[in-house]
């Protein structure tokens, strides 16, 4: 592998990481605040892709704009799901059987609803810019990936600002850090949970639309990305939003460079084994540093 090839791969890995982060962040906030492993996340990702697809096919709305439109739509959808289903779950500080099965059942419903509506065909969003690329010297970057990366990063920055500056963001962080103390000082647990679920769903729909611009999708689209989201949030420490970015970069780099490793001139990891890479990474992380990569950099400040 020469240097320009390496640089190309590195850039595509970093661009991929942007989408991965947007994809995993929704799951992280929901887990952090409610301690629910949102298996329906896969369904929301898939719906997001179809949302952008339908807008483009029917109304010729640019998929990038469609992705941005997905944010408010999925926010309301997520709040609705919370109001209808999630709020009845018993509260707990570890994920419960009931919450897992409920979210899983909802995923099944979403997925098979999609099978009924869109059938089991691979779809893709093909716009004039899908195939164009930007050349800088020896580096070639597909234009779509650049746009998707920019959109994802902008959204993550907005989220970070909401997280740090707004009352809602502060309530969320308080609930993540210590739910009991947060409620004592007056954080409205139910309202914050509802908004958080909406936010998580909004990001899932947004990320799904972005992923739909890059990859082909079918109603089973979300599953492979569900696993990747898991790997990312385990890497980043389960409930830390800044950890997500780190986890996304690590996963994207490993996935991109893994298949390039050669041993005696043979590729030891064919492309078809890519999903196994993310799982192997998951197991290694669980064995070596169960608290996530972020734990290597931050020391616990509390004396407990």
């Amino acid at each position: 592998m020469d240097f320009s090839q390496f640089l190309n791969l590195l850039i595509s890995a970093l661009l991929l990481a942007g989408v991965y982060a947007a994809m995993a962040v929704g799951m992280t906030v929901i887990y952090g605040v409610m301690k629910i492993v949102n298996l329906a996340h896969a369904g929301f990702l898939m719906l997001g892709a179809y949302f952008a697809f339908e807008l483009y096919e029917r109304f010729h709305i640019d998929p990038l704009f469609g992705a941005v439109l997905a944010l408010p739509v999925f926010f309301l959808f997520g709040m609705g799901v919370h109001w209808l289903l999630v709020r009845w779950l018993p509260k707990s500080d570890t994920p419960t059987l009931a919450s897992l099965l409920l979210m899983f059942g909802f995923w099944l419903v979403l997925q098979n609803f999609a099978y009924m509506v869109w059938h089991n065909d691979d779809r893709s969003i093909t716009t004039p810019r899908t195939l164009s690329a930007v050349n800088i010297g020896q580096i070639t970057v597909p234009e779509v990936n650049l746009i998707v990366f920019a959109a994802a990063v902008v959204c993550l920055i907005v989220l970070q600002i909401v997280f740090n500056r707004s009352w809602f963001g502060r309530s969320m962080r308080a609930l993540i850090q210590n739910p009991y103390a947060a409620q004592i000082v007056g954080v409205d647990d139910g309202r914050t949970s509802r908004l958080t679920f909406g936010l998580g769903t909004a990001f899932a729909g947004f990320a799904g639309a972005l992923l739909g611009m890059i990859y082909t999708f079918s109603p089973d689209f979300g599953r492979q990305f569900l696993l990747r989201s898991f790997v990312i949030i385990v890497l980043g420490g389960l409930d830390s939003v800044s950890g997500v970015a780190l986890g996304a970069v690590v996963l994207a780099v490993v996935e991109t460079f893994g298949p390039q490793i050669q041993f005696h001139g043979k590729y030891i990891l064919p492309d078809s084994l890519q999903p196994a890479i993310s799982f192997a990474l998951l197991v290694v992380v669980l064995l070596i540093m169960p608290k996530g990569l972020a734990s290597m950099f931050t020391r616990k400040r509390r004396l407990t």
């Binding site: 059987l97 897992l100 059942g105 909802f106 099944l108 419903v109 997925q111 898991f230 790997v231």
Partner: protein, 336 residues
Amino acid sequence: MKLPSGMGGWVKALLPWLLLACLLLVPVTGTSANVMKLIFITAVWTTTSLAWNLLGGMAGQVSFGFAVFYGIGAYTTGLLMHAGYSPYLGFLCGGILAAVASFIIGIPTFRLRGPYFVIATIGVTEAVRVVMNNLDITGGAGGYRIDEKQYNPTEHYFSAIAAVSLAFLVSSLIASSKFGLALRAIKQDEDAAADLGVKPYYAKLWVHAIAAVLTGIAGGIYARRAAFFYPGDVFAFQTGISILLMPVIGGIGTVWGAVMGGVIFGIVEEELVAKFPNIHLLLYGSLLIAIILFEPDGLLGLLQRLARLLRSKRSEDPGSNNPDQVLWGRGGSQGR
């Protein structure tokens, strides 16, 4: 073995034996091949349902990864039969290898708090299927064929009945043993269980292994009859989902609930799915949501509630002994 007390006790104690006797008599009475096949499939599904229930229902650890054990059982049996060994050795080795796989999943994840186990079970299913799709010695994604000289449906039938009986026996023994109590304690509150002298880590590991053995055997029995299987079938995420749905629909945490779920699921899969291929998972999903929100004890709980209502219309229904506790472990009032 203590003697059952009262009418209900005797019925409960004799019911499994009566069922077993009926099932053993079925081949003698000249039942049609289709019905035999239906009972065979249902027995295999029920075996896996009982196995999942040990881990998920009793110990409260949700696993989406039982397809891995099922597939390992199938492939081990296939490979050993191809090498000329008895299929029964294949079932046994399949079970043992599945148990080894269960340790590989359990050792890194059961030690940790939080959702790590669930995440790992989803991951391992994906990873194993991908690897099997690319493995040359098993024919990769194309599948694997077992060539058995003579095809004997009665033998297949009895092997499935033997498996489901074994699963039932193991489940009943565990449910009434100290180990079963320990598992229930872990499900309700791991810290409290640990304080009372249960070792949650080892208890979870062992029950996972037992469940894996049973599932592996079921996979082997299925594979031998099917004679052809491929990773997209036995290792599919869908298979893991099916195994999970049965005990939850039937009644999670109870042996009879798991049996009921398996029987209903087996019949529905065999008889209805061909007619409505897309609807059934949508129905299962909705049913899952409805069960979690309204009747956590599953269909068995619903039946019990109806029976109580019929029996005593006058006296107020006391309700089952707090279903929330049974399904949800730590109650809503404690903890956030």
